[in-house]
């Protein structure tokens, strides 16, 4: 439990592309650039999966990449968390009917936070990570579909 508390001060992210269209990948990349600067929260991209705390999964999880994803997850040190970024990683998106995809990261590993969107904006990715950190703190993370529309057009 204590180790979980420590992780929340500086979670290091590992990004794995399981067959994404690169849309989510460039948004994950954009999210670490000066405009959004997640290092304010101690968030940093880790060079190797063995240094990471949070695995960011993008893409529809093709059957070949699914095996890799499982192996990567097993190589991560405890405690570890998985964030699914984008409609594809959440549920398969437009590719859910294809013969070659498993459709959804939760088919392979346990997912702690879903960030829907195609692709989600960098702010949305930050928002998801902040919600994950709050969840680690004991608070409730998810409040999707709260019934409050904002900025309606």
């Amino acid at each position: 439990m204590d180790r979980v508390k420590i992780v929340k001060y500086s979670p290091w992210l590992v990004h794995f592309n399981t067959g994404a269209c690169n849309g989510c990948d460039i948004e994950v990349l954009a999210a670490i650039t000066p405009h959004y600067d997640p290092e304010r929260f101690g968030v940093k991209l880790a060079p190797s999966v063995r240094h990471g705390d949070v695995l960011i999964v993008t893409g529809a999880v093709t059957k070949k990449a699914g095996e890799r994803l499982k192996r990567l997850y097993e190589q991560m040190p405890e405690p570890k968390f998985v964030v699914a970024v984008g409609a594809c990683a959440c549920s398969g998106g437009v590719f859910s009917g294809s013969y070659s995809v498993l459709a959804g990261a939760d088919k392979v590993v346990k997912v702690d936070m879903y960030i829907p969107g195609c692709p989600p904006r960098p702010e949305a990715i930050l928002d998801g990570i902040v919600k994950l950190l709050k969840k680690l703190d004991g608070g409730e993370g998810g409040e999707g579909g709260d019934g409050k529309p904002s900025g309606s057009a």
Binding site: T62, K63, K64, Y99, S100
Partner: protein
């Protein structure tokens, strides 16, 4: 490129390939389709390269289409003759139960990607290409069953 000039280029192209052409028609937008016999494909390419030069054209893509009702597989070679700004499509039909066609790999090295792709997805054997093999992009569970995904009766 429009009008007279384009027509002149197309006519010269048809003139070059007239020994091999079974029929000639147009595909939208303004691509010349020339139907050739599958065994002549290599000769046609040698001829094209000798006329337009090795730096005058490249093979853009190979398209395989399955026609189960006619028991045929159609293999189209899309060639961009960029030295004269035109596209030519070489169309061949091969039997569906024994899809074989000579490989172009030694004449056009750029055919590699298209041939591997057409083999794995449609099962067209390019004779003389040593790199053909299954399940490089089709997942193992499907290729092990011997299914070619792009065939109409593959059921995937």
């Amino acid at each position: 490129m429009v009008g007279k000039e384009a027509r002149a280029v197309m006519e010269s192209l048809q003139e070059v390939l007239k020994d091999y052409a079974l029929s000639t028609y147009n595909m939208k937008p303004s691509r010349v389709v020339i139907e050739v016999k599958p065994e002549n494909v290599r000769e046609v390419f040698t001829k094209l390269v000798s006329v337009y030069g090795a730096e005058g054209l490249y093979l853009a893509t190979i398209v395989g289409t399955d026609f189960p009702d006619k028991n045929l597989i159609r293999v189209d070679y899309f060639v961009n003759v960029f030295s004269v700004n035109t596209y030519v499509v070489l169309r061949t039909y091969i039997p569906r139960d024994d899809p074989r066609i000579p490989s172009l790999l030694d004449i056009v090295p750029g055919a590699l990607a298209g041939e591997l792709e057409t083999y794995d997805l449609l099962g067209v054997v390019f004779e003389g290409n040593p790199y053909l093999r299954r399940s490089f992009f089709v997942p193992n569970d499907i290729s092990e069953k011997g299914i070619y995904p792009l065939r109409k009766d593959s059921g995937v």
